[in-house]
Symmetry: C2
Subunit: 230 residues, 2 copies
């Protein structure tokens, strides 16, 4: 979740901005407000008009789509600093829901886009953010299209470990269902994979949502091809 650290100060002006940019930026800042949500609350629903865009101030938010039959695909989890809820269209493409209690800064979408257009600097940073997200999205395509259940779960755990900058006491901030929905698996499969990894001591669990990685190498081997290789 914290991969685009730069985005934390996305909306702060540079000091040496041109007056035009400064004006857009201050307009944007003026449109901002902080909203708090309880874990489980919905921020917006797929198809809603999308007048605002958001940035996580604290907590974790997930964005997902629901299929007719009730299954879900979690597009992504957003942590502190990350921008979400901005699409090229006038309506939201996903449903967003607070996973933990959280605080979210909201900005008027039109002002945000205007600020981006008016400032080469904003524009550049926003482009970077979008391209990074596209990159992430494509990594996930490889994961969903080509990796086995064990590989997906292991890759996800590596990601969490990296994001949290620890190999001990890494936290699952989301439920097994959320993990499954993100990885394109069922909750049962996620459990079984975790159990098997426990059994092989690739990971050690303190509680269901708190684990440690004794040997990073071992976990990464699972990501490579411990199973279903070729």
């Amino acid at each position: 979740m914290a991969r685009t650290a730069q985005s934390v100060e996305f909306f702060q002006s540079d000091g040496d901005s041109l007056s035009d940019e400064a004006k857009e930026a201050s307009l944007l800042a003026a449109s901002a407000s902080i909203i708090r949500y309880r874990a489980g609350e919905t921020l917006y629903v797929e198809g809603d008009r999308a007048p605002m865009c958001y940035q996580v101030a604290s907590g974790v938010v997930k964005e997902y789509n629901t299929l007719e039959d009730g299954r879900r695909q979690v597009a992504d989890f957003y942590g502190v600093g990350e921008i979400f809820g901005i699409s090229e269209l006038d309506w939201q493409l996903h449903t967003a829901e607070a996973i933990t209690d959280c605080a979210v800064r909201s900005y008027r979408r039109d002002l945000f886009l205007k600020a981006v257009a008016s400032s080469p600097d904003f524009s550049h940073r926003f482009l970077d953010t979008l391209m990074a997200r596209l990159h992430r999205s494509r990594e996930r395509m490889i994961m969903l299209g080509r990796m086995s259940a064990a590989q997906r779960v292991a890759a996800f755990m590596v990601r969490l470990s990296n994001e949290q900058n620890v190999t001990r006491n890494v936290r699952f901030l989301m439920s097994r269902q959320d993990i499954a929905d993100h990885l394109g698996l069922t909750i049962e499969t996620v459990c079984r994979v975790l159990t098997e990894m426990k059994r092989q001591r690739v990971v050690v669990f303190d509680t269901a949502r708190l684990f440690s990685i004794p040997d990073t190498r071992m976990l990464e081997d699972v990501v490579q091809g411990g199973k279903k290789a070729r």
Copy 2:
């Protein structure tokens, strides 16, 4: 492939551009050159330095990643007008290969980015392109994560039909292997699904790469949940 029609004239100036923008645009235009490739030729390889970015002038190009074990994930196919080969990094994230004989306009990446930064108009259009691509990419995540083999293939055929604006004599411009690599399936599974759809007369094949859709509704039903619903 032709969803972002706007991108065709991505690099044409507006006429009413500011001089600064006009300058960037002409510099960019000056850096452009057209390169022709034969079907099967490689444009660049994952990891290559990425000094250029590209736009398809004719033909079809695929961008893909290769896994250690040789399997591939085709990220996308690009048709006339589409921009590709631009990443936030200095190196290519994918390998690009000509599927058909094709012609490609190449631009210097640094000039392209400068032109984008200097022009609100360019910037806006490029943002739209990126966001549209992000959108596509996420649709593909749903496909890879949540749809059965039959659903994926059917969805892909619907996409082709839409892109080519026909329901009769729709063409597969790529091989079965490419389709499989794109959909996260094996070539055999793609074949079996196609055979089954033929059998049920959801689609009719003239040749292996040319098919018609007698009843759009029927094909769309397959996309929904003809199989593996819930």
